[in-house]
Amino acid sequence: MGMDMAAMVGDIIPEVVLVVTGVVVLLYALTAPRRWQSGAAVIAATGVVVSAVATVQRMSGDDQRLTFTDSYAIDHVTDWGVLLVLAVTLVVIAMSAPWFVTDPRHGEYYTLLVFSALGAALMAGASDLIQLTVSLLLSSVTGFVLAAYHRRSKSSSEAGIKYFLLGALPNAGMLIGLAYLFGLAGGTTYPTLRAGLDGTTPALVVGVALVVLALAFKLGAVPLHAWVPDVAEGAPAPAAAFITAVPKIGGLIALARFVDVLPADAVGWRPLIAILAALTMTLGNLAALWQDDLRRLLGWSAVSQTGYGLMAVVAVQRSELAVPSLLFFLAAYVVGNVAAFGVVVALRGRTDRAQYAGLARRRPLLAGILAISFLSFIGIPPLAGFPAKLLLFGVAIEAGYTWLSVLAVVNTVVSIFYYARFLAPMYFATDDGRAGLLSAWASAAAVASGAGVIAVGVAAEPFARTFAPALLLPGG
């Protein structure tokens, strides 16, 4: 048994590294003097890099299976989810260090960041409802605090409170849903669920609905999307970049794994997710239309992007490309999202549309990155968003949901309008105001993410190749 335990821990080295990192950062933050608080960022970044190396190592083993008595999947999907989470976390750390430099006690911020990343990573790998619930809660509670981290800012506190209040109910609902499904299937691991659930009973419907709702909250999908624009606007800008991206990685993968174990097309989950996708993309888009605040705009566009991402979940089991399209979407979305928020951070949090007029002349590089991330969200090739949208449209058609693809196209056309409302003044206006920069680090983080938006699109093959053999329930 001792040997077994060691072997099992050996399966989850990347996750263990994150736990250790979070604890070390916390101890450092508690003991280090104020002027050394930034050191916490260095420790956190180091831990994230080590964890990423361990993840790459694990993925190269090509050994896809369940571990810890079937409660955690170590497969390509988990590994990609973890890698994406870590990539975003690393960039966010680079943006956070200059952002928080005037905050005398920001060391423990990085603890929260690392534990929140861990929560999302564990959600991606969960193959057991209890495991999923625990990681979902870990991701949520840390997220609430991150959103409210600017203690003296009203909008930050408001964002945190709203996020918390909206989250309390679905998080509690998750526990009830878990109880129902446990009762029906006689177990909580996914192999047990797959074997134990059958038919469509009212209890199954309730259980599934509650789990889906909890995940919808994490994703910022309708009907639990209202926190997204507030957090995007009010949370510290680096934290906003993190919260609008990272829980989405864990949540979307978790949702795909969950629906995959339901009895084939029972409880009408496929049309349910399709309707959620349709509502989410449309509502997010319409709300973004007249936004004059860039961060709110990014929040609403994050909602609409979630709607596109849900198309991949609709196609689970019906298209071989469902999982690759899901992973590609996540990669494209998160890299574009951190690039856009990175520009906001590098420009010291400027967010008013009027302040972006003429930016292309004063800060051509940052303006270019914002433009690239917008164009990638629209799905213009050869940027990351294009293969993502191509695959999403394709899998939805293959799954028999052509109408969803057509709706996504209509929404994409609508989205040009609000992205162009920022692009046009940036490029076509000649206003020459000042554009102070936060720090070289913040700009570098934005530039690196912008380069990522191009790289993921142009060099899509390595992703496509490693996404292709990914499974939702290894051995299942």
Binding site: L375, I378, I380, P381, P382, F386, P387, K389, L390, L391, F393, G394, I397, E398, T402, S405, V406, V409, T412, V413, I416, F417, A420, A424, Y427, F428, A460, E461, A464, R465, A468
Partner: protein, 497 residues
């Protein structure tokens, strides 16, 4: 070689995007422009070279292939056939002239040249790509480039026109994307490779699925062409864009739509195309008449030229409809119609490119497009007058000029297949003749208003640029065999399927 034609201007535009130059300094701006023109001419030289090596076997030639995203069946594949080679060569020529052409750069010369070279690369890419994924990449990218070109250097309500252009054409290209995805999903094994899809004919069975795919593709191409009723983005975009950008937009970008019709639906799902050929022909005739009549009513030079573009693209679509018909036993008429439509694409690129450049020159000197404001310019500007006359006569289809060769073949081919459509369509030629003659008379004849007494004739760069375009118009008009042979080599096999 073809790859270099795409990547030389692309690389130059990337370099220009990062170097620092003083866009206020006159000498620097001139050097930038000369360098830009030289780079833009490189693809032209390469394509002439390609032309000399072209054998006309009927298939794709000079193919260059690199695997790109093999997991998804995407390859970087470029090559030419008899349809795409003339279009690509015309593209390179129009771009070279357009970049050299003088226009107000608003202190942003570097960005202007960079964007133009970028757009040249993208446009060439569309015509040379032999992979649907790659085709779509260039297609969409060209649209973004044009959006910025109109928005930054346009006049009038440029921002609004740019946005309308962007939203409208992107909507079209997303419809096209759905169509491409539909084709892709039908292939086995999955591939975006054009030659493979043409060989496989995955949708030969027809049915609802094939129809939906066709509708997506046709909608995308119809918006770009543009075909009435999805043409409304065109007039504002053309009018508010700077002259050289209008020349490129009308001369090159519109051809992407008609070329797309030939390359994708006509070649990849000919049965479905044939079922829709007649309605397409009807729409084409509507576009011919509508474009001509609305142009006749214009008092603005540039708007007039813009509407004649709708009219001329109608001839192209009419030719394509006849070429793709299901009416049996008309192989040779179909081939004639397709050749005519392709010559029309090339001719319209040269002629309308020239007309838009001319209207740019008129705007630079007179600061207005209103026809009423002008008169009697022939006495002050003989070169401008002669050039405009040649372009206008070519556009209205005077024998001996390129437009005639094209329209003659389009109507000859169509007459055998859809005689009624051809008959009604011919009316369009009469109307365009009237409107061009009226324009020439208004601007160049009659008394010269006092305020134009100091009107300068065309400058050296303008004369050379327009001269080259119009010389080619005359050559194609007088001795078109070198062009027709190349186009015929592909037209036969395409309609023969």
């Amino acid at each position: 070689m073809l790859t270099a034609a795409i990547f030389v201007p692309l690389a130059a535009s990337v370099v220009l995007a990062v170097v620092r130059v003083d866009s206020h300094d006159v000498a620097t701006v001139r050097r930038l422009r000369v360098a830009g023109t030289a780079v833009a001419a490189v693809p032209l030289v390469l394509l002439i070279l390609a032309w000399s090596r072209f054998e006309g076997t009927g298939g794709f030639e000079l193919v260059e292939q690199v695997s790109w995203i093999p997991t998804l069946g995407v390859g970087y594949t470029v090559g030419v056939d008899g349809i795409s080679l003339p279009l690509a060569a015309m593209t390179a020529l129009v771009f070279t002239v357009a970049i050299a052409y003088p226009v107000d750069l608003r202190d942003r010369a570097r960005a202007y040249v960079a964007l133009f070279l970028f757009l040249e690369a993208a446009s060439l890419g569309v015509f040379l790509a032999l992979d649907l994924f790659l085709f779509f990449v260039f297609w969409d990218v060209s649209l973004v480039g044009m959006y910025f070109l109109i928005g930054v250097w346009g006049h009038g309500d440029a921002r609004r026109s740019a946005l309308k252009f962007f939203i409208y054409t992107l909507a079209g290209s997303l419809a096209l994307l759905l169509g491409i995805i539909g084709l892709y999903l039908a292939t086995e094994p999955r591939t975006f490779d054009m030659a493979t899809i043409i060989e496989q004919q995955p949708l030969a069975g027809g049915g609802l699925y094939a129809t939906l795919v066709f509708v997506g593709l046709a909608l995308g191409f119809a918006v770009k062409t543009p075909l009435v009723p999805v043409h409304t983005w065109l007039p504002p975009a053309h009018v508010d864009a700077p002259g050289p950008a209008s020349a490129v937009l009308a001369g090159v970008l519109l051809k992407m739509g008609t070329y797309g019709f030939v390359r994708i639906p006509m070649a990849m799902q000919p049965e479905t195309f044939a079922r829709f050929a007649f309605p397409l022909g009807v729409l084409a005739v509507v576009a011919i008449l509508y474009g001509a009549l609305v142009a006749l009513a214009q008092t603005d030079i540039k708007r007039l030229v813009a509407y004649t573009s709708i009219n001329h693209m109608g001839y192209v679509i009419l030719g394509l409809a006849a070429a793709g018909t299901a009416v049996g036993g008309q192989r040779s008429a179909q081939a004639v119609a397709l050749t005519g439509a392709t010559v029309e694409m090339v001719a319209h690129g040269l002629i309308t490119g020239a007309l838009f450049l001319i209207s740019g020159s008129i705007l630079t000197r007179g600061h207005t497009y209103e026809l009423d404001a002008y008169g009697g310019l022939a006495s002050r500007a003989p070169v401008l007058t002669v050039f405009t006359a040649i372009a206008a006569f070519a556009s209205l289809g005077l024998p001996g000029l390129a437009g005639f060769v094209a329209e003659f073949q389009v109507f000859t081919g169509t007459l055998a297949i859809y005689p009624w459509l051809a008959g009604v369509g011919l009316l369009g030629i009469v109307i365009t003749a009237a409107l061009f003659l009226r324009m020439l008379q208004q601007v160049f004849l009659g008394p010269l208003p006092d305020r134009w007494s100091g009107w300068p004739d065309l400058g050296r760069v303008e004369t050379v640029g327009l001269g080259v375009l119009l010389l080619l118009v005359v050559i194609i008009g007088v001795a078109p065999a070198w062009l027709l042979d190349v186009i015929d080599s592909a037209a036969g096999p395409i309609v023969g399927r």
